[in-house]
Every structure is written in C-alpha cells, then in structure tokens.
C-alpha cells in the first residue's frame, strides 16, 4: 500500500489563485483528483477528509451527486489536452455536450452558439470553422485554449488546472497564463493551479502550498514564499532555480532524491536530503506538525534555524534568494 497523500489540508476563497507546488510523485495531482472522485476506487482508498465545497462534503456524495458538480461547479484543466479530448469527436461537439449534459433545457443550436462564443472568448481564431474541427487539427496551444473554453462553459466556481502549461512552449505558456488571468477576472472562479514551476507560481498565484512526499510542508502567501522561505525544502527549490534576470555562481543542489512512498521514512520525509537536519534524531523519528510562524505555516522541527540556512544557501549560489533584498 502506497500512501500517496498523507493528511493534506488547504482552503481557497472565490477569485483566489492557490498554487500547489512539488516534484513529481509529491501527491499534488492525486490530492486534487481524489476530491473530485476521479481516482478509481479500488485500487485507491480515500480516507480522512472532509472536503467541503460550498458547504457540502464532496467525499460523502454519491457518484450521481458528484456528476452534477464535476464539470459544472468544479471544472478541470488537464496538462495534456490531446488525451483529455475525445479524438473522434469534434471540439465543438464536445464543448456543446459539456453544456447540454448539465443543462438539458439548452437547445442544440443554443449550445452551438454558446460554444462558438466561448471559443472566441479564449481567442481561438475563426471559432465558427474551428467548431467542427477535430482535436488533432488544433495546435497544442489552441487545444489548451479549447480545454479552458470547455472548463468555463458552465461558469464554475472552482477551476482546477493541473500543470496547464507544462506541455507547452514558453511563448504559448505566456499566452495561456494570460488567458487564465482573464478568465479568473471574468468568472471570479477560485483557481487551484498545480505546477512544478516556481516561475509560474510567482506569476499567477496568490497563495502557495508546497508539497513534499504527500504532505504539505509549507503554506503561505506567494510573496512570503519568495521573500522568506520557512521550510528547508522550499529553500532548496528556490536555490536550485536557474534565473534569467540575475547572475548566479552555481545552483544549489538538494542532495539525494524523494523517498519511495511505498517505504516512507518514519520521521520527516525530507530529513535525509535536508541541510538543516544533519541527521538529528527529531527529524528521523518524529513527523513535524504544520505550525504557524509569522504569516506562514511550516512543518519543520528546526524552524528557528531557517534564517541562517537561507543565508548560507544564498552565499553558496552567489545570490540573495530572498527577493526584495537584492533590489534594496
């Protein structure tokens, strides 16, 4: 049995963008898929909870009830739009279907008009002609736009974007991030953005949850995360990020690799790679709780040593990673 997600809590307000960062296998996607009932059970077992959405516990809902929420009040944008769309149906057909599934009173022609309107809203050029094209006839960036159009078709109050730009080139990524910002402003939907890219987080998120080995290790505002990392893993991520805008001597390298979740260590999962721990018994034996420190939450036994660690990483890479400091 692999415990992929181990007691994760977060909350999000309307209109807010919550970024979830972490490396592959840290449980970012699994934690979100599970709240929507998107994981096949069995083999997956979801324990714990609750997951409260607009006052209701999603984990206690029947599949029938969930179906009214998925794609309507909560919509998802996936990393790979090629596999998310059905290849043998036209894009227009699939978006119109998403509208009619949740509102039977919409006529076919009304759904068609609405779909064309949505496609033009997400800047798909020539939306009328594009309506009757198949997914393979769209470019990667355009498919992602169509997926966003489908996600916002039913005016969701929560939008979950799972690595929405990872498969895209950087200039297309810039287009999509800009579009997500426009969509957020127009719909006031809360957005959960799952990504491994701290640059993307810095560009769009309001608050950030950092995950490591199935747990939240730090949760804070986006500015605080970059100004004053409160967890050694966050510090490692910031230090290992190559930057375009400033010169660095070298990258900070977090030694080792994430633990095998089938044999998760008993104490802090980050201990063996941590620059603070240095093999101390607390780290190896007991799991640190998330505690409030300043405006942040962090799960580390030696929080008070973070300041020093941040300085030493900054010296190693030849760049003060606490943003704001270098410009003063």
């Amino acid at each position: 049995m692999v415990q992929a997600v181990r007691g994760v809590s977060w909350d999000i307000q309307p209109g807010e963008v919550l970024g979830i960062v972490g490396e592959s296998g840290s449980g970012k996607s699994v934690s979100v898929s599970s709240i929507l009932g998107l994981l096949p059970t069995p083999p997956a077992v979801i324990s714990g909870g609750p997951v409260i959405f607009e006052g209701q516990n999603l984990l206690e809902m029947s599949e029938r009830e969930l179906r009214h929420i998925r794609g309507k009040k909560i919509a998802m944008i996936f990393q790979d739009p090629m596999t998310a769309f059905n290849p043998v149906k036209t894009i227009g057909h699939q978006i119109a279907e998403a509208i009619r599934v949740h509102d039977k009173s919409v006529s076919r022609s009304a759904a068609r008009d609405r779909t064309i309107e949505l496609l033009s809203m997400v800047d798909v050029p020539g939306p009328k002609a594009r309506f009757s094209q198949y997914p393979h006839e769209y470019s990667g960036g355009m498919r992602q736009r169509a997926m966003i159009a489908m996600a916002i078709a039913n005016k969701p109050s929560l939008l979950i974007a799972d690595e929405p730009t990872t498969a895209l080139d950087v200039t297309i990524q810039a287009q999509i991030l800009e579009l997500l910002e426009v969509v957020r402003k127009e719909t006031d939907a809360a957005t959960v953005l799952i990504t491994h890219d701290l640059g993307v987080i810095a560009e769009v998120a309001d608050r950030v949850v950092v995950m490591y080995a199935g747990k939240v290790v730090e949760s804070t505002s986006v500015v605080a995360l970059f100004q004053r990392p409160r967890h050694p893993y966050t510090l490692g991520l910031l230090g290992s990020l190559p930057r375009l805008e400033v010169r660095m001597d070298t990258l900070y390298s977090v030694p080792g690799q994430p633990p095998d979740m089938a044999h998760a260590p008993p104490g802090c999962a980050f201990a063996s790679r941590c620059s603070l721990s240095r093999g101390r018994a607390e780290c190896r034996n007991s799991v640190p709780e998330l505690v409030k420190v300043g405006d942040s939450w962090s799960a580390c036994h030696f929080l008070d040593e973070m300041e020093l660690a941040t300085q030493s990483v900054s010296e190693e890479i030849g760049l003060d990673i606490r943003i704001g400091k270098e410009s003063q």
Binding site: E23, Q173, A202, F226, L238, P242, L244, Q257
Partner: protein
C-alpha cells in the same frame, strides 16, 4: 598523412578556446511520404542552412521552441541522421561526406546525452554493461582494465561502483541521467551534444545534473552543444547562445549579450515570456505575447520566417530573407533589429 597519425591527431586534447567544431550552412530535409504507396510528396526542411562554431571547453546553448530543428541539428552534427547540405568540420576534418568506416575514430570524440534517460538505457542490461558497451564496441579495453574504467566513470558521475550490478529501472530519473552521462563519457570524448538533458527532471534533481555537467566540463575540458527549450537553464550553463526559429538561427551571441541586449524580435519575445520567479515584480516586465502559432516547416513563410508573428514586419520581410549581421560575437538575422 597516414591514417594512424591522423587518428592520433584527432584524439589529442585541444586547449580551451581552440576551434573544435565548425558547422557551415547545414541543412536537413525529411521527405513527406504518402500513407499507402510511400511515394515522396514533398519535403520538410527541418534545418535550413545554419552555421555556428564551437570551441574546446565551451558551452554553446541552442534554444528554440518545439519543431524549430534544434534536436535535428544535434543529431545531424554527430551524423546520427543524414543531412542534405552543408559541412560539419570537426577539428579541421570535414565529416559531412565521410564514409561510416572512416567516421569511427571520430565517433569516440563526439557523444550524445538524450532527454529521456529511461528510454535511452537498455532495460535488460546492467548499468556496468551499458557503460562498458561503447568501450567494447571500439575494442579499447577489456577484463580488469575495463572494470576499472567503468568504476572510474561511475564515480565521476557521482554513483558508486556497487551500482554497476543493478538495472536501469532500479534508479530514479536523475540517477538514470547520470548513467547516460557516464556512457557518453566512456570513450573520453571532447564534444558532447546534450539534447534536453534536464528537461524530464524535477527542479531539485535538475540542479544536481546541471552542476555535474559544469564540473565535468571543467575537469575534462569538454565542449558542450547544449540543446534545450528552457531559457533559464540554457542561460545558466552556456557561454554563448544560438536562438533557432523554424530551422534557422535568428540570433547568436554571448549569453550576456543575448540576455541584456537581444536584437532579434523573436529573442525578445522568448526572453519576455520566461516567468520571473519574483512575485513582487509581477506585471512590471514588458511581456511580448506572440500571436498565433509557429507555421508549418513544410511551407515556411517567404522572406523572414518569423514575419507572420512579428510586430515589426514590413513588406521587405516577405520578400528578402534577412541574413545574420552584427559584430564579431553577436549577430542577428532581422531587417529591423533592436539597437545594439
């Protein structure tokens, strides 16, 4: 010159800064074939006449978006795929028309590391056999000497000799990439083509590999052709950078020149699109969002290939193809370049 002395000559190490590779007007075409009869319908020029040079101990970054021809360039330089025109000059020897048998001694000097370590390592071989294979193929060492060389290579890339008995699937992505690098170093090359070597890795592991590559370069005086789409990584590791768009180099210069004073509009757009990991500067940078998508390389636009997405394009851009112009280190192919 006898062939033996020629081989001795190419295997001596160059001093840092000497020319190791010179690529002139390289082009690579792929045929477009009909689905049933496999008749040739036309061709795609994936690389459309590019030139650059690379010095010993130097890193040249090759950046561009998917489909711009950067990986094709890497493969063609090593003659792992055939090119349709131009020349590849490795230490004064023209490889472009050389027969395979003659290429063999040169192959020792130029190796490749690929993006996906998992699919580039044979799952049925132990790590030791994977790393030893090139040495065996070239019949350089065997027995104890071979074992010792493999142990040395494993340690060089930060693994332990004991890891040699394991299989690739027992390793994480970062460690698999280390194995790929050890294999590439087995024959003692002077030039490595690194084709997106860190793109498949997580940030914290990516930094380990980037640091490893930098250390190896210093220790072994290696020249790198570093191919990647991530400008931040390329900028960090490269001495010079070439920017490709639709099969052409549109700008080439030192990392600092390119970053602080980009001259080609595409370079500017590319730089501005890179997310800045600093939320307090959000919205301050001038972001140039390019319209539309890259055109199909099967029917590239006339004149300047970038003109269909360029905000500066004028009539001349559709008729006259711009050539690389500038000073000795920094050139750009644009009719209306940014001020130098």
């Amino acid at each position: 010159m006898t062939s033996a002395s020629m081989i001795g000559d190419i295997h001596t190490r160059l001093a840092p800064g000497e020319d190791i590779l010179r690529v002139e007007d390289l082009s690579v075409e792929f045929p477009i074939k009909s689905t049933i009869l496999r008749r040739k319908l036309g061709s795609v020029e994936a690389v459309a006449g590019i030139s650059f040079d690379l010095h010993a101990g130097e890193t040249l970054g090759l950046v561009g978006e998917s489909g711009c021809g950067k990986s094709t360039t890497g493969l063609a330089v090593l003659r792992l795929i055939e090119h349709s025109g131009g020349s590849i000059i490795f230490r004064g020897h023209d490889l472009s028309k050389m027969k395979n048998s003659k290429m063999r001694p040169f192959r020792r000097e130029m190796q490749i590391v690929l993006q996906d370590p998992q699919s580039s390592l044979d799952p049925r071989l132990t790590v030791r056999s994977i790393i030893a294979e090139p040495i065996r193929v070239h019949r350089l060492l065997d027995g104890k000497a071979l074992r010792a060389r493999v142990d040395e290579l494993l340690e060089l890339v930060g693994l332990r000799p004991a890891h040699g008995t394991r299989f690739p699937h027992e390793f994480s992505g970062g460690q698999q990439q280390r194995i790929g690098i050890a294999r590439a170093l087995a024959l003692g090359p002077q030039l490595l083509v690194l084709d997106e070597p860190v793109s498949a890795l997580d940030v914290s592991i990516q930094a380990q590999i980037v640091n490893l590559l930098e250390r190896l370069q210093d220790e072994l005086n290696l020249a790198y052709l570093f191919i990647a789409h991530d400008l931040s990584v390329v900028n960090h590791i490269s001495d010079r950078i070439a920017v490709m768009y639709l099969g052409k180099i549109v700008e080439i210069g030192t990392s600092d020149e390119l970053k602080s004073a980009p001259r080609h509009p595409y370079t500017r757009a590319l730089l501005s699109a890179v997310p800045v990991p600093n939320p307090t500067r959000r919205g301050l940078g001038q972001r140039i969002v390019l319209e539309g998508d890259v055109p199909s390389p099967a029917s590239p636009p006339s004149g300047c290939r970038f003109r269909t997405r360029c905000w500066k394009a004028q009539d001349v851009c559709a008729t006259v193809e711009p050539v690389l112009e500038g000073n000795s280190t920094h050139t750009a192919a644009c009719h209306f370049p940014e001020d130098a």
